[in-house]
C-alpha cells in the first residue's frame, strides 16, 4: 500500500496527474469507499486492502471531463469495465493514468459477521494470506481467506489487466467455481421453481437504486427510469411497471455490455444476487452467438449490435 501511495505522490508532484482516484479509509476496517485525492496530504487516508472491492472505472466518466489526467487504480476485473466505457466513448483513455493493482480476491464483510469487527489481519495489501485473523468485540477468530471472498472472485476472469500504464503488485487468479453453474442450476428448475426463486429474491428489492448507481454499464446521463421518454416517471419510483420490470429492463440494457464485474450484487443492501440476470444473458450470448467478454476488445462487434444470418430463432430450445 505504501508503494501505491508513494507512486501516487510522485505522480502528483511531477504534475503528470492532477488528482488520484482511489479508495479512502472509513470508520471501520471494512468501510472503504472510492475517493478522489487532490493532494499528497489527502493521500494519507488512501487505503488498499481486501475490502477495496469497489470498481473505480465508472468514476472516470466524470474525471474525463476535468482538466488534467487522473491517476486511477484498477484491479484486473475493473479494467474490463474501463475498456467497455472507452469503447462507448464515455471515458477518454488519454485522461487516465492507470496503475494496475494486484488483487488476490476481495472480501465480503458480511461473510465475517461485519458488525463487531475491530480489526482484520491478512486483508491488507500486500499482506493477504490464506487465512484472515479477525478481531471482534468478542475475541479473535480465524477464517480461510477464500471463505470470505466475494462471489465474483470465485469466478474471477483472470489476473491479467486488460489495460494499464503500469502495474504494481501481484495478482492471483482466484477462480474456483463455474461462472455459469448458478445460472444453469436455475435453468434446470421447473417454471414454478424458477418463478418462486425470483419472486422471493425480487420481492426483497427496495428500489434503492444502489445497483444502478454502482453499475459501470448503467452510466446513462439520465436513466430511462427517470425520463419522460417512456412515460415511466410520472410517480417517481412507484409506478408498478417500473417496480416490476426494473431489474429485467436494467439487465437488458446492459446485455452485451456488462462485463460481469459483480458490483451490483456486491452493493445490494438486500443481498439480491443481481448478477444472475446479467450472467444469464452472458451465458445465452456465449452459447448462441459465440464467446463474448465485454471489455476485452474495444473494436469487437457487440453481440446485440451485430448478427449472423443463421442466428437461432427466438424460443428455439425452449421446447
Amino acid at each position: 500500500m505504501q508503494e501505491l501511495i508513494h507512486r501516487a505522490k510522485s505522480l502528483l508532484e511531477s504534475g503528470e496527474v492532477s488528482r488520484v482516484l482511489g479508495w479512502k479509509k472509513g470508520e471501520n476496517v471494512f468501510d472503504v469507499e472510492p475517493a478522489f485525492f487532490a493532494t499528497a496530504e489527502e493521500l494519507e487516508n488512501f487505503v488498499y486492502n481486501g475490502f477495496c472491492g469497489a470498481n473505480l472505472s465508472k468514476y472516470m466518466i466524470e474525471a474525463s471531463t476535468w482538466e488534467g489526467k487522473t491517476l486511477v487504480f484498477l484491479k484486473p476485473c475493473d479494467t474490463y469495465s474501463f475498456n467497455q466505457l472507452c469503447k462507448e466513448h464515455r471515458i477518454d483513455r488519454e485522461k487516465a493514468y492507470i496503475i494496475g493493482v494486484g488483487c488476490k480476491g476481495k472480501l465480503k464483510a458480511e461473510k465475517l459477521g461485519a458488525e463487531n469487527i475491530l480489526d482484520v489481519q491478512g486483508a491488507g495489501y500486500p499482506d493477504c494470506s490464506d487465512t484472515l485473523k479477525v478481531t471482534t468485540l468478542y475475541g479473535e477468530q480465524e477464517v480461510a481467506y477464500k471463505d470470505a471472498m466475494l462471489e465474483r472472485c470465485h469466478v474471477c476472469k483472470g489476473k491479467e489487466h486488460q489495460v494499464y500504464d503500469e502495474l504494481i503488485g501481484e495478482s492471483v487468479d482466484t477462480c474456483d467455481a463455474d461462472r455459469f453453474a448458478e445460472v444453469a442450476k436455475i435453468e434446470a428448475m421447473s417454471p414454478e421453481e424458477k418463478f418462486a426463486f425470483f419472486q422471493a429474491e425480487l420481492s426483497k428489492c427496495i428500489r434503492c437504486n444502489a445497483c444502478r448507481n454502482v453499475c459501470p454499464a448503467c452510466s446513462c446521463r439520465k436513466c430511462i427510469f427517470d425520463s419522460t421518454k417512456f412515460d415511466s416517471n410520472q410517480k417517481a419510483n412507484t409506478t408498478s411497471f417500473e417496480e416490476k420490470m426494473f431489474h429485467i429492463i436494467r439487465a437488458f440494457h446492459v446485455a452485451g455490455r456488462c462485463t460481469d464485474c459483480g458490483e451490483c450484487s456486491r452493493v445490494c443492501p438486500q443481498g439480491i444476487p443481481l448478477h444472475l440476470f446479467n450472467r444469464k444473458f452472458i451465458k445465452d450470448i456465449n452459447n448462441l452467438y459465440g464467446e463474448y467478454q465485454a471489455g476485452v476488445d474495444i473494436d469487437a462487434k457487440a453481440p446485440l449490435t451485430s448478427f449472423r444470418t443463421d442466428d437461432a430463432e427466438p424460443g428455439v430450445g425452449r421446447g
Binding site: 471531463t65 469503447k87 462507448e88 466513448h89 464515455r90 454499464a217 452510466s219 446513462c220 446521463r221 439520465k222 436513466c223 430511462i224 425520463s227 419522460t228 421518454k229 417512456f230 412515460d231 440494457h253 446492459v254 455490455r257 462487434k301 457487440a302 446485440l304 449490435t305 451485430s306
Partner: protein, 662 residues
C-alpha cells in the same frame, strides 16, 4: 392537449355489416380529448373527405382518427385531406377496422368491441402525435446503369433519349453482354449481332451516355436522388484516347494461353485482347495475369508494334466518384456450374457441351468458325442429343428450383438450325415439358418438329457414358412409350440452368436492395412494381430480376427507364419525416445506434449542450434525416432512450399498448 375528431367509415357494408359503427362513434365521443365523432358510408369519398374538413373547421380539431380500411390503402388519402383542411398530415392515424376486424370476425358484438379498442389505441396515439414536416432533397439528374448487356444498353438509351445523362458501368472490356455471344435469336432466327450491334453503336455515340467498360462499382452511399458511387476503372494498360483499334498488338502478342471467356473457354485468346470483333469500345485490354511483360518485365512486343504508342504498362486502377439520382441494376446472368451433374459427363467429355457453348460453335466468329464439329476430334456430329432442364426445376441443392424459361425455345432454335444446315444430322431432344408461352413461340417449336423432323422424346436422361470409340452412349427414358432408351450420340447439348450473375449479391448489398433465395433481385411489388427494387431509387432491368428472353428484357429495360425518367424529371423529392431523432440532453454518445444503422445515417458531433443552464461539451448522435429511412433499430439499441422515432415514438407505442390492454 389535442382536439381529436374520430371518423368511422362504413365502407358500404364491408365494415358496417359486422361492426356497429354507431356504437364505435358513441364510444369514441366518450374518449378523453375527442371533440367530434361521426360515421359515414364512404369516408374516402370526396363527400367523406369534405366532412372531415368541415369538422376540422367547425371544431378546431388538431388531430384526426379515421376508423376505416388498412392504412396501406387510404392513409395517404386522409393525410392529404387533413392537409387540405389545414392540419399537419401526420396528425392523422388510421384504425384498421376492416382488414383487421370486420373482414375476419363474424360476431358483431365481438367485432364492435375490437373496433372500439382499435379506435382507442389510435386516439391514444394521436394524443402524442406531433406535426412532422417532410423534408426535401435535391435530385441529381444523372442515372447509373450497372451492366452493359442488352438490358443495360436499352435502359441507358431510353433514359438518354429523354435528355438525361446516363453512365453505363460494365465489368468486361466491352458492352454487349450475353446477347453478343448468341448466334441467332428465336423465334425469328435473325442474327443476334445484326440487331445488337447497332444498339451498341447508338449507346456509344449518344451524347448523353458515358460508358465505363472494364470497370466495377466499388461503393454506393446516399439515397434516392442523391447516390454517391465509387467506380473502379481497372487498369487497361492501353490508352483509350490513342488506340485506333487496328489490332496489330493482338496479332503479335506471344502469350496465347488464356481461355477465351467470350467463347466460353472453348479456345484461347492472347493476353492483349478485345473480346470480339464488334467490341465497344474497340480498344483492347491487357489481361495482367497472362501478360508476359507485366508478369516478368520482359517482352513488350505489343508496345513495339503499336504505331500510336497507346500501350502503357504503368497504368493503375483508378477510382472515380460520381453522383447519381437513380441506379438501374442490369447485371444479367450466367449458366450454372455443372460440377454437381456428373451423370452428364460434362467434365469428362469435350463433346458434352452447354447450349451457350453451342451458340459459340454455331457462330461464324466462334472457335470453329461456325462449323458444327466435335471439339474432341473435329468431326461433324451425325447424332446430336439435347437434354432439357439440366439444373432447372431441381428442388435439391444441385440445381435451381425455378424454370430457366428460355431453354425450350433456344433448344428448338438450335435443333432447327442444325437440321436446316446439316440435314443428315439427327437431332433428338429429351424434355420434361415443352414450355412455349409467347408470341409465335409454340408455332416455332412445332415447326422444329413438323418441318425439320426434330425428334422430341418426353423423358429425362439418366446418364451419358463416353465410350471407348469416342462416341457417347445416352441412357434415357421415353415416358410415353414406357421404354428405356440407349442412344449412341456424337454430341450432347445440355440446356443448362441460368442463374443471376454471381456479382449481384455484392451489388445488392451495396445498394441495400433485397435479393431472393435464388439471388434474383426482389421487385418492390411482384405485380404492380415489377421494375422497381424496394429500395427507393434503385430499379431492375433484365434477368437480374428473373429469367426472361430478349423481348421481355428489352420491354423491362424500357419500363425501368421510364421509372428513372419519372424520378429524374423531379427537381426535389419529399423525404419521409418519420425519422429517428436523438435527444442530445440524454445522449451518452456511446455509438451503439450507429452500429445498427443500415444507412449510415448517424454520425457523432462534439456539441456544446445547454442542460438546464449547465453548459457542457458532449459527444452526441446526430441523425441525417435525408438518409434515415425510419426503421427504428437505433431506438431500441439506445440504452438511455435518447434516440426516438418520430411518428412511432416510445410514448406513442406505449400509449397504444396501454389502450389495448386497458
Amino acid at each position: 392537449m389535442q382536439k381529436i375528431g374520430v371518423f368511422v367509415c362504413h365502407c358500404g357494408s364491408n365494415i358496417a355489416a359486422t361492426v356497429d359503427v354507431k356504437k364505435v362513434v358513441e364510444m369514441a365521443a366518450k374518449e378523453q380529448g375527442v371533440f367530434h365523432a361521426e360515421d359515414y358510408p364512404y369516408m374516402c369519398s370526396e363527400a367523406g373527405q369534405s366532412r372531415i374538413a368541415a369538422a376540422v373547421k367547425e371544431k378546431g380539431l388538431t388531430g384526426i382518427v379515421v376508423c376505416s380500411c388498412s392504412p396501406r390503402m387510404h392513409e395517404a388519402t386522409f393525410r392529404k385531406a387533413a392537409e387540405r383542411a389545414g392540419i399537419n398530415p401526420y396528425m392523422v392515424e388510421i384504425a384498421n377496422i376492416r382488414e383487421h376486424c370486420s373482414w375476419i370476425h363474424k360476431d358483431m358484438t365481438e367485432a364492435t368491441e375490437k373496433a372500439v379498442i382499435l379506435m382507442r389505441a389510435a386516439v391514444a396515439k394521436v394524443h402524442l402525435n406531433a406535426p412532422l414536416m417532410a423534408g426535401e432533397s435535391r435530385v441529381t439528374k444523372r442515372a447509373l446503369v450497372i451492366g452493359g448487356g442488352i438490358a443495360g444498353i436499352q435502359t441507358a438509351i431510353d433514359i438518354a433519349d429523354a435528355g438525361y445523362k446516363v453512365d453505363i458501368v460494365e465489368k468486361t472490356p466491352s458492352i454487349g453482354g450475353r446477347m453478343s455471344q448468341l448466334d441467332k435469336t428465336f423465334p425469328t432466327l435473325d442474327c443476334s449481332a445484326c440487331i445488337l450491334t447497332p444498339k451498341m453503336v447508338e449507346a456509344a455515340s449518344h451524347e448523353n451516355i458515358t460508358i465505363h467498360t472494364w470497370s466495377e462499382v466499388e461503393k454506393v452511399s446516399g439515397f434516392v436522388g442523391n447516390f454517391t458511387v465509387d467506380i473502379r476503372k481497372k487498369a487497361r494498360y492501353v490508352n483509350m484516347d490513342k488506340c485506333t483499334g487496328c489490332g496489330v498488338c493482338q496479332e503479335k502478342c506471344p502469350s496465347k494461353k488464356p481461355l477465351n471467356e467470350f467463347n466460353r473457354g472453348l479456345n484461347t485468346r492472347t493476353a492483349i485482347y478485345t473480346p470480339f470483333a464488334q467490341a465497344i469500345p474497340n480498344v483492347p485490354v491487357i489481361d495482367a495475369n497472362s501478360c508476359i511483360k507485366l508478369k516478368t518485365g520482359k517482352c513488350g512486343i505489343c508496345e513495339k508494334f503499336c504505331q500510336v504508342g497507346a500501350i502503357d504498362y504503368t497504368q493503375k486502377d483508378e477510382i472515380i466518384t460520381e453522383q447519381y439520382g437513380a441506379i438501374v441494376v442490369a447485371t444479367g446472368f450466367d449458366t450454372i456450374k455443372l460440377d454437381k451433374y456428373g451423370e452428364y459427363a460434362y467434365n469428362e467429355s469435350k463433346d458434352v457441351i452447354t447450349s451457350l457453348e453451342l451458340e459459340r460453335i454455331m457462330n461464324a466468329a466462334g472457335p470453329t468458325k461456325g462449323h458444327l464439329e466435335r471439339l474432341s476430334d473435329g468431326k461433324a456430329p451425325k447424332e446430336i442429343v439435347f437434354i432439357q432442364c439440366v439444373g432447372s426445376r431441381c428442388s435439391d441443392d444441385r440445381g435451381k428450383p425455378y424454370c430457366s424459361k428460355i431453354c425450350c425455345m433456344y433448344t428448338a432454335k438450335h435443333a432447327m438450325l442444325i437440321r436446316d444446315k446439316y440435314p443428315d444430322t439427327n437431332v433428338t431432344v429429351f424434355y420434361i415439358d415443352v414450355r412455349t408461352p409467347g408470341k409465335n413461340f409454340d408455332e416455332f417449336y412445332r415447326r422444329a418438329v413438323e418441318d425439320y423432323g426434330v425428334h422430341y422424346i418426353k423423358g429425362q436422361v439418366g446418364k451419358v457414358m463416353p465410350q471407348a470409340d469416342g462416341s457417347l452412349l445416352v441412357q434415357g427414358v421415353d415416358l410415353l412409350d414406357n421404354k428405356q432408351i440407349l442412344k449412341k450420340a456424337d454430341m450432347v447439348v445440355l440446356a443448362t440452368a441460368i442463374e443471376p450473375n454471381p456479382d449481384v449479391r455484392k451489388i445488392a448489398t451495396m445498394l441495400t436492395a433485397s435479393i431472393d433465395t435464388n439471388n434474383f433481385l426482389t421487385e418492390a411489388h411482384p405485380k404492380l412494381r415489377p421494375v422497381e427494387s424496394p429500395t427507393a431509387g434503385v430499379f431492375l432491368s433484365g434477368v437480374c430480376q428473373g429469367p426472361k428472353d430478349i423481348p421481355e428484357t428489352v420491354a423491362q429495360a424500357g419500363a425501368a427507364a421510364v421509372k428513372v425518367i419519372g424520378l429524374l424529371a423531379k427537381d426535389k423529392l419529399k423525404t419521409n419525416p418519420c425519422t429517428a431523432k436523438s435527444d442530445e440532453l440524454l445522449c451518452n454518445g456511446c455509438s451503439q445506434c450507429a452500429n445498427v444503422c443500415p444507412y449510415g445515417a448517424i454520425t457523432y458531433e462534439e456539441k456544446l449542450i445547454n442542460d438546464h443552464g449547465i453548459r457542457r461539451t458532449s459527444r452526441v448522435a446526430v441523425v441525417n434525416g435525408a438518409l434515415c429511412q425510419g426503421c427504428g433499430a437505433c431506438t431500441v439499441t439506445c440504452p438511455s432512450g435518447a434516440m426516438d422515432l418520430q411518428g412511432f415514438s416510445n410514448r406513442q407505442i406505449l400509449a397504444e399498448v396501454d389502450a389495448i390492454c386497458r
